[in-house]
Symmetry: D2
Subunit: 292 residues, 4 copies
């Protein structure tokens, strides 16, 4: 099985690397050359352009957002280059609208299409322990499973329509944002009454909320350490926007998502857009006039 891999960013690079290490024949492409060289030194072939994937059986892409996916996969020629029967596994967090469009376009060209966004940050990707949220035809998923087994700890299948995996990813990211906002408001309440936000969060994340999401972000919030950004606040804003667009399409009121988006805008307007999205937690304290 010949694998193509487009998008060697912070997440894509370790994912592709794991595929190479697992013995797959992998051809890679990335806009910037640095990660391409790294993969090449590990044994990967190098594609000349996004359109240079006519031979692969499966094309994996891990790109940043809707705009990049459209630019590289559609306008860049990757989709058009694929041979009949090839499968495109799109692991990016994208809008449901684009997911529908890609699924339909690939179908018309005789390709298989799998949506497979992931849960996990860089260290999890490096360890090959991602949670893979997949949707696609069973026969396609079966072919993809050997790759998923290398990149992830577990594959969760949510249906045959691509959007069914993408909406789960948007819902999960909404839950993460919500946990951050919740800890921000709760800490501000405690601090507003003279208590220690740190002591509160330590207790919270050691007891009822002893989960990776709360422990990770709770620790950052307790220590007010928002750099370096594992996932930028502006990307959190983007994902809550995508969730709200998906909600609007299905007529689902999501007042928490709406509130969160306003707080993201507050954070960006106050200069925190480049910090880790955990900095969303600082909005409540700032509005309450609570100083560091």
């Amino acid at each position: 099985m010949y694998i193509g891999f487009i998008g060697l960013g912070t997440m894509g690079k370790p994912m592709a690397s794991n595929l190479v290490k697992a013995g797959f024949k992998v051809k890679v492409w990335n806009r910037s050359q640095e990660p391409v060289e790294a993969l090449k030194s590990q044994g990967a072939e190098v594609a000349a352009s996004p359109a240079d994937f006519e031979d692969v059986d499966i094309l994996v892409s891990m790109l940043a957002d809707d705009a990049t996916v459209s630019a590289v996969i559609v306008d860049g020629g990757a989709m058009a280059a694929l041979k009949t029967g090839a499968i495109h596994i799109n692991m990016a967090t994208i809008s449901l609208k684009l997911a529908e469009h890609l699924a339909s376009a690939h179908r018309q060209q005789g390709h298989g299409y799998i949506a497979a966004p992931v849960l996990g940050r860089v260290d999890v990707a490096e360890a090959g322990n991602l949670n893979i949220l997949a949707a696609g035809k069973p026969a396609l998923l079966e072919q993809a499973e050997p790759l998923f087994a290398v990149m992830g700890a577990k594959t969760w299948v949510f249906g045959e329509e691509a959007t069914q995996a993408n909406v789960v990813k948007l819902a999960a990211n909404f839950c993460l944002s919500s946990a951050i906002e919740t800890m921000g408001e709760a800490s501000a309440l405690v601090r507003g009454h003279g208590g220690s936000g740190k002591a509160f969060l330590e207790m919270l994340t050691s007891t009822l909320f002893a989960a990776p999401a709360y422990k990770g972000y709770g620790g950052m919030i307790a220590q007010e350490r928002y750099q370096p950004a594992g996932f930028k606040l502006t990307l959190g804003l983007k994902d809550v926007r995508l969730a709200l667009e998906a909600a609007e399409a299905a007529h689902v009121p999501m007042p928490f998502a709406s509130t969160m988006k306003d707080n993201y805008l507050d954070a960006v307007a106050n200069g925190d857009g480049a910090l880790d999205w955990a900095a969303l937690a600082t909005v409540a304290a700032r509005r309450a006039g609570i100083k560091g």
Copy 2:
């Protein structure tokens, strides 16, 4: 050490029972007689009234809300009955206003006062594994620790002022409510796009959100099982109101808490007040017109 225990409801009964089993001399009082008989059969003494605690060294109370605490402890004569040097450990979730009032009134009468609300539902109380959120003078906390060791798995100390424990409890309950609302909105989004709320919640609570709070309430939401109520929705509403009152006192905007309160009202208006507070999660789906 002679212990008084007032309030043998679903939480208080197993807590008092654990004290008796641990060998403490315990005198109990409760408005209804049934749990009193149960404790008596285990070896507890029975008080004639809330004022019949003049001999105890430590009075523990576990009452439902501000109104009950005021009725029993203040108007019912428990406070006035205590001897000089006695300690009142108030384990209820009450308002910061009442906490301040009780602390001050006990001080004037020469009593010690400890605020010690708890985290954990009935089964946790039965197992003596509560998390105890305590605030009070160190010397008082030292005297209370043998009791806490019996009732709880761990004592978390948040300061010397009673309100510092109570505000942490309100903040923690706010986080629980927020988790419920978050899962409700996220599930509605997934279901609105034809996905399975159950599959989504199973994935969520097995991965990033694998914490007791999410697993417990996520399971109830996935199965749409809101009876019997471990903690009534109307009590969740009461606690978010107390959190908002505390927030107002400290000028802390808490938009999630505000949103949640409106959704609690929606749930009550739609007849769900007697269900478990996890039923807050049904509001988003109902508003979106999503049927069971």
Copy 3:
């Protein structure tokens, strides 16, 4: 007809003065003496205390809030002093809870009780042009009408129960707060895109929103002139809290009221509590990082 008048603040003073000028025999009381002297010089009698109203047929009170009404009318002895058959017209903006309590207590003592909060600021009170929002038994309202005719331009009757007028007043003040918040957000949007908030508000309040509320507050917002405070921001906060309490009692979700309350807290936390409540409009711009 012998009239008592308690509460000679910025609103009460001109209202009492108009009654004196209209030829009524009026006896007044106020905590501070300055306005008492002014009324005396116009011909009013002076009461020795809030309990010195045993002779009056109708007692009008115009006090600041729940606490003051309780302190003066209940604890201060005014209610107890009234003779059988006397009528108390309470023109303050108070909670529904206190309104119910007062109505019931007066009934038990053989008094009539009318709730009659007003719409209008000081200049309107001076001109005798208030809108009076009244509730009470028809026979009582008939007796009160000559006084209302002097103090107000029009009396609006909302029912026989006191709360029915008080809830209308809370609803009306909510609408005013909402108009302020709305103009604040809309102006911030326009300014965020380089437009003039002033030009926008001038157009808005000259066309579809050419109403006193919008013209008055719109002008203040356009000119960013929030002093002197005609109605303090902290009073706006108090009234939205009363509206939310009333909403909770009837299980009415009011998300605009909730949002507004958080923004009031933001304003207070940022030091604007003593400004006119129109300063609520500055919150959106500040959060957006828009400078004056």
Copy 4:
């Protein structure tokens, strides 16, 4: 001066008609033929297609939304057909993004571009009394003024950039939506306490809120009469979405707009999308369990 007019819907038809009646030479185009025949009978010329406007000096368009504007003006060939120096006056409520795109594209083709959305419903358009919210180069606005004078009562100029008029229109529509939501919540509060929403709204819109917006929508809400739809609820939803997109672009938190959007979705999910947008006011009452 030779005028083209594209878009003869409920608003465009009377606007074009007024231009014809005022003596302008007008050539019209509309997707459906009925209004074209009406205009023809009044003396207008008929264009064969959106591209049949190569001779006009000024092209006025009054189309429904972004998609229609793009389809007709860009893809349909109207823009490409215009001669050098011609002016396009776009009177639709569109996104700031599309406004920027059109302004730029016209500039590149040597055309003038004016954004001129309007305030006013059909009857106001018929009477030639619209408020015209204009932005464009002063020299262009001068040429457009004779047309504006026929269609509107007053032209409000907000700057030289097209977006400056479009953002004002979005802000004004946000204010209208907000007024509807406000009256909905306030009425629900009054009704929840046994009062009459109708009596409340009559008082409100006769006093502090005696403005066209409140009188018009307040009357509809009081009588619960949401058909026929002067402006469909789904269009209200569209406009609040455009406002929120504009707010996001400028990092302006607009919590009222966010809340409103969720309530619009609630209304649509409950089957009210085809009613007048004043039906947004029914959401609060339904959530509170208040029956008609």
